[in-house]
């Protein structure tokens, strides 16, 4: 069976800067998460498979056809770019209608599709407002709407959740999941693991232009779980809290930051650490101001995994 997306030995560089290096993979229907820190090559990969960039080496196939200069094939692809850029003077409806007019649809068909897409992203009421008056969340949704309006088989979403508030994120994640139910192929990029986890279990890990791992998210989760995490707890009694933690086997290191009244705890078992934390707070009447994880980002995880 022909894979929906197939790339062979794909490489791309910009002058001396490496974008992507010798990537070979196949993508099947469903949601695939493209995970990697900023500058890993995610956007380059997405632009290559959507035909916006030409590979220096290698080939991209969509449904067995070469993408390069295959303009009719673009009917099958919906692309939601990362950047927050629009034809600001157009209304939401005009933006969709005009972009749909570049497809072989009749005007009435284009209007129906635009209205349908606006309904899906819950922007029907705001369809006649100019985009420059839209909120960040509305802008993300109209961007998503232009990608789905022509009902493509393949949906490519570059950091679609960036800049959204928690409610907006949840809304968009459920929209993306809805699309999966229709049997479409969706590729979502992000540098935040929980965002991808909320949508799919199939991931591609990309780092420094190379595909580092591909497959089930549990595999990477297991790797990450053994990664020592640093957790900062800002509270009124950091030394008391440290005393309670120091006996636990999974606590590897404890440091104080007197200026900020905070405690830095290094642990190799985050789950155990967090399950103990609430009880310690209540039993010892510790007032918590903030809990953060300074290295809870993909870059730290990748650095750890690559080093390993």
């Amino acid at each position: 069976m022909i894979p929906v997306i197939e790339v062979k030995n794909l490489s791309k560089w910009y002058g001396n800067v490496l974008g992507l290096s010798d990537v070979t993979l196949q993508i099947e229907p469903g949601i695939t998460g493209l995970l990697g820190p900023n500058g890993a090559g995610k956007s380059t990969f997405l632009k290559l498979i959507t035909g916006q960039l030409k590979p220096k080496i290698g080939t991209v196939y969509i449904k067995g056809q070469k993408v390069k200069n295959n303009y009719p094939l673009f009917r099958e692809i919906g692309y939601c770019p990362e950047q927050d850029s629009f034809y600001e003077e157009l209304t939401g409806m005009e933006f969709l209608l005009k972009l749909l007019s570049l497809f072989p649809f009749t005007p009435s068909e284009a209007k129906d599709r635009a209205e349908q897409a606006l309904e899906i992203v819950e922007l029907t009421k705001e369809k006649d407002r100019v985009i420059k008056a839209y909120s960040r969340g509305m802008r993300q949704r109209i961007k998503f709407a232009q990608a789905i309006a022509h009902d493509p088989e393949i949906l490519v979403l570059d950091e679609p959740l960036s800049g959204l508030d928690p409610l907006g994120r949840r809304r968009l994640i459920s929209l993306i999941k809805e699309y999966r139910k229709k049997g479409k192929t969706i590729i979502v990029s992000s540098h935040i693991l929980p965002e991808i986890e909320a949508m799919t279990k199939t991931i591609i890990l990309i780092h420094q232009g190379k595909v580092f791992a591909q497959g089930d998210i549990h595999y990477i989760r297991d790797l990450i779980d053994t990664h020592p995490h640093i957790i900062a707890v800002k509270c009124d009694k950091p030394r008391l809290l440290a005393e309670k933690f120091i006996h636990e086997d999974y606590v590897l290191n404890v440091k104080f930051n007197p200026a900020e009244e905070s405690l830095l705890v290094e642990t190799n078992n985050r789950d155990e650490f967090f399950s103990l934390l609430p009880a310690l707070f209540t039993e010892n009447k510790i007032e918590v101001k903030e809990i953060t994880s300074p290295d809870d980002n993909l870059q730290a995880v990748f650095d750890y995994l690559v080093g390993k």
């Binding site: 303009y71 009719p72 673009f74 692309y79 950047q83 850029s85 034809y87 972009l99």
Partner: protein, 270 residues
Amino acid sequence: MSLKNKKSGAFYFDSIRKSFSFFFFFGKKVNRTKVFILISFLPVVIALIIKCIQYFNKNYWLEDISVFSNIIVFFYLQFLILILALFFGSSVCSEETEGKTLTYLTTRPVHKSALILGKYAAYTLLIILMVNIGVILSFAILNISHLLDFSRYKILFRDMGVLTLGLICYTSFFTFIGTFLKKSILFGLIFSFGWENIIQYFPGSTQRFTIVHYLKSLLPQPARGRFSFLLFRLEPSSTGTAIVMLLLIALIFLGIACLVFSQKEYILED
């Protein structure tokens, strides 16, 4: 012609039509167009002022048609069409790359060069309309008492034709510059008010390296009179040569613009 070629030809022209329709609509809505409409109506205001002065001061007299011709040459030909072509022509590509909206276009089933051709045609038509409406109004105001003198309309249509040709040619050139250079406006200003304004007066065939030379060749030449000894003067080409050259320049630069836009990878930087 094979069926496949016919099909791809039809697809290509359909892509141009779609791109034209998109950007003609968009061009009408952007604030830049509104500003330039106001600027292009400045000669109309000037014509109104002249007419008012003539009305209130009977001693002040100027031949209406000569005032009109002067407005055409000085304001439209030497300034307005250059500015309009520069801002609209260079924006054909640069507003997509600088505004990072290019991805919306290049992920549609439309040939890249068709996008450029359609957008060029849309913006050129917009500025042709802008200029010619201003010209017609200026003409009507200045010749209000001679509107039934049909011989004067010959001058109007000739001037409109020259300005239209100028817009087609300059916009094509600046479209090419926009696809090619990042700082196209700066280069365009140097070209418009440096090269075009200076080289057109160079003696011999050097002046033929300007677009304005061919445009001025299509207009009647002022009498040399006592300045005939000057070296710095227009040595016009024939009407036929001028028209062919203008169309050729437009075609060549538009062709190169399409080629550059189709081949070049525009990196949309954050």
